[in-house]
């Protein structure tokens, strides 16, 4: 698979259809890298000219801002916006709801206005537009799948249906957890919690969510966020179900089952 950077496109005087913003987790976290590769493979197979920023990409500043470090957030935001504006980027897709939220809601005020979509919505658009075709009777046919709403796609931005519609193309049985959609329970990683130990309590948030997901009897927990991925995987492990229950990103599930 040939993946070109924005710099390469720029040097050739070309413009990609979309910039794939990989995000820090998607770049460095070993598990999330698989999601990144799966999504890139989808774009590649669907024949979409896309670019990444590669080494030039930097953290959007989301965890710094939510931890309270506004200075650091603004520094990151300005350097990213400068970079994106210099390349004349118009349209961004990302597999991280935190990056998505920052681009969508927080960068415009600082001079960075882009058309940004989260990969759940993007996949839905590709499927609807016929640019992705699914295999007949794929890996997940008839299996029970439960979907975990990430807070930053769901409550923060009101996107609940797109990921569910994507999952429907898999011909699987979609079961909802007790707490779903706007009542969904956080995975425990947002607000920069990913980067520190939880405060003391009687359990961890991801353990609580892991148990709830396992209780649906689903064999796959579908996620749309690299941080939810980490938290849910640990949660399922803690529930002692790591053999039976897989946590997968919707991009991985689509990639496995597209023609």
């Amino acid at each position: 698979m040939q993946i070109k950077t924005m710099a390469e496109y720029f040097a050739n005087g070309e413009t990609p259809e979309v910039l794939f913003w990989v995000g820090c987790a998607g770049s460095f976290d070993q598990r999330a890298q698989k999601i990144t590769r799966a999504f890139a493979a989808i774009l590649d197979k669907a024949g979409i000219p896309f670019a990444i920023l590669g080494k030039e990409e930097g953290c959007t500043g989301d965890p710094a801002r939510r931890a309270g470090n506004e200075f650091l957030f603004q520094m990151m935001a300005y350097s990213n916006i400068q970079l994106l504006n210099n390349y004349g980027v118009k349209s961004i897709v990302t597999a991280c709801p935190h990056c998505f939220n920052t681009f969508r809601n927080e960068y415009p005020q600082l001079g960075g206005t882009y058309e940004v979509v989260h990969h759940a919505t993007y996949l839905q658009q590709l499927i609807d537009g016929g640019r992705i075709k699914m295999k007949e009777g794929g890996t997940f046919k008839g299996k029970k799948i439960t979907y975990h709403d990430s807070c930053y796609l769901g409550r923060a931005n009101g996107i609940y249906e797109a990921p569910r519609q994507v999952l429907e193309t898999l011909d699987a049985e979609l079961v909802e957890m007790k707490r779903c959609k706007s009542k969904g329970l956080c995975c425990g990683a947002g607000g920069a919690q990913m980067f520190k130990e939880e405060e003391k309590g009687n359990t961890r948030v991801n353990f609580a969510r892991g148990h709830e997901a396992v209780a649906t009897d689903a064999s796959v927990i579908a996620a749309n966020c690299p941080f939810c991925m980490t938290m849910l995987t640990d949660g399922v492990k803690e529930a002692g179900k790591e053999e039976e229950v897989k946590v997968l990103d919707i991009a991985e599930m689509i990639e496995q089952n597209m023609q």
């Binding site: 698979m1 993946i3 950077t5 990989v22 820090c24 998607g26 770049s27 460095f28 976290d29 890298q33 590769r37 990444i52 590669g54 080494k55 990409e57 953290c59 500043g61 965890p63 710094a64 939510r66 931890a67 309270g68 470090n69 506004e70 200075f71 650091l72 603004q74 520094m75 990151m76 350097s79 400068q82 939220n101 969508r104 809601n105 927080e106 600082l110 807070c151 409550r155 923060a156 931005n157 706007s182 009542k183 329970l185 956080c186 425990g188 947002g190 920069a192 980067f195 520190k196 130990e197 939880e198 405060e199 003391k200 309590g201 009687n202 359990t203 961890r204 948030v205 353990f207 609580a208």
Partner: protein, 436 residues
């Protein structure tokens, strides 16, 4: 004799209104201690929120059964005010049921509806008491409510039941008196509910019956006036402040954090020093984030007074549910407690800052603030559009930017972002290593 009652009524009403106004102005002053934010944009959306959230109780219907019971109490409160209006006029003018001859048959229908509502209000309040004290629902037995807040809730429910029973007793006695053709008691026809109970009073003499009717009338209206003045010291204030709170709902997407122009400016100057050279010199040092109530916005402070401590926020909060110190409901209650404390300081000493205390640490601990995952569940759940998350985030900003207080792991995350452009300690050169 009648004139004495009229004067008594006028005095009671005057005192009640004066006390209430004084307290309301105090609350207004406290709320305006907050920093200014402009929340007047997009009026059409704001009116829609007011209608849907406050009048329509939209969020309450996330839990339909409770919503219906609450709706009875709420509708009762709104509609029975017409009855209160009649009582006011009667009390001041020395008349009896002044609307009856004017409205004719409609009067009977109105009172009939009020009576049904009064029964529904009393029954709903009784069910609410059972939920709190016998079924012991989790969010009501929470330690958040230990002490005054728990009694407060019970006093409100009991008072409402008593007020409704007084209203019904008054009507029942009135019906019995009408039947006997007692002087002064206008014949209105049979009230829908209380006419059934009028025969209960058959053993009483006319004068005893009048005493019951007048007694219930006075206790009812004095109770209403006392309750009016109990409101602003209680969580029950939400019946008033839910309306402005819904109007001033934050219309931004929930994921959007408030921008800090002062810091934006600093960062711009750092990136383009030539701008800084021409920048106007300011002699005020900006405050970053919130340490005390004055650093919060007036909307945060309005939120604090509008909170009815129902605990839907905390019931949905991942931190609260997993036993962390954080409870969004307590964030709101503590903000109100601190604001009241500041208000008392102003009243007594003319200055807000005589106690060397602050919202941070004296009321809300770092541990609570650190436990928030910013998941917005509390914001989503609140029936009256309170945003505890906004307060938490402003206080986190104070901790990190004014006090450099952050857990060691966060400091490492900050320096990784600064040096490696990612929250982890990886080289930026490896950012595209996933391709291989």
């Amino acid at each position: 004799m009648q004139i004495v009652y009229q004067l008594l009524f006028l005095t009671a009403l005057g005192v009640a209104v004066w006390l209430f106004t004084r307290r309301a102005l105090g609350i207004r002053r406290n709320i305006l201690l907050g920093r200014n934010v402009e929340l007047n944009d997009r009026p059409a959306e704001r009116w829609k929120n007011l209608l849907l959230l406050a009048f329509g109780q939209k969020k309450m219907f996330r839990n339909p059964l409770v919503a219906v019971l609450h709706f009875f109490v709420y509708a009762g409160f709104i509609i029975i005010n017409i009855e209160i209006l009649e009582i006011m006029i009667d009390g001041l003018a020395g008349t009896h049921r002044i609307f009856a001859p004017v409205l004719g048959r409609l009067y009977l229908v109105l009172i009939g509806c009020f009576e049904i509502l009064a029964v529904l209000v009393a029954v709903s309040c009784a069910i609410f008491l059972v939920r709190r004290n016998i079924l012991k629902l989790k969010r009501f037995i929470s330690k958040d409510l230990d002490g005054w807040p728990r009694s407060d809730a019970n006093y409100i429910l009991l008072t409402e039941i008593v007020l409704m029973l007084l209203f019904l007793t008054m009507n029942a006695a009135d019906q019995a008196l009408q039947a006997r053709g007692a002087e002064h008691y206008i014949t209105t026809g049979d009230f829908w509910v209380t006419s059934q109970f009028a025969p209960l009073f058959s053993g009483l003499s006319d004068s005893a019956l009048i005493a019951v009717e007048r007694g219930a009338w006075w206790l009812h209206i004095l109770g209403v006036l006392a309750f009016l003045n109990y409101l602003p010291f209680s969580k029950h204030l939400h019946i008033i402040l839910a309306f402005p709170n819904a109007y001033y709902t934050d219309l931004r997407p929930k994921g959007k954090m408030e921008n800090m122009p002062a810091i934006q400016q600093e960062v711009l100057y750092a990136m383009q020093p030539e701008l800084a050279a021409n920048a106007p010199v300011s002699d005020t040092v900006p405050k970053f984030g919130a340490k005390d109530v004055q650093d919060l916005t007036w909307k945060n402070l309005l939120d604090a007074y509008a909170c009815t401590e129902c605990g839907r926020c905390s019931a949905a909060c991942p931190a609260t549910q997993t036993g962390k110190a954080l409870s969004p409901r307590l964030i709101m209650m503590k903000t109100r407690d601190r604001l009241e404390e500041v208000g008392r300081n102003i009243r007594q000493h003319g200055s807000a800052t005589t106690d060397n205390k602050s919202l941070l640490r004296d009321h809300i601990t770092e541990e609570e603030l650190r436990a928030c995952t910013t998941c917005n569940a509390c914001v989503e759940e609140c029936p009256v559009s309170i945003n505890p998350l906004h307060i938490i985030l402003q206080m986190r900003r104070h901790l990190v930017m004014e006090e450099s207080s952050a857990p060691q792991e966060w400091n490492m995350m900050f320096s990784n972002i600064e040096n490696n452009m990612a929250p982890w300690k990886f080289s930026p050169d490896d950012r595209d290593a996933w391709i291989q």
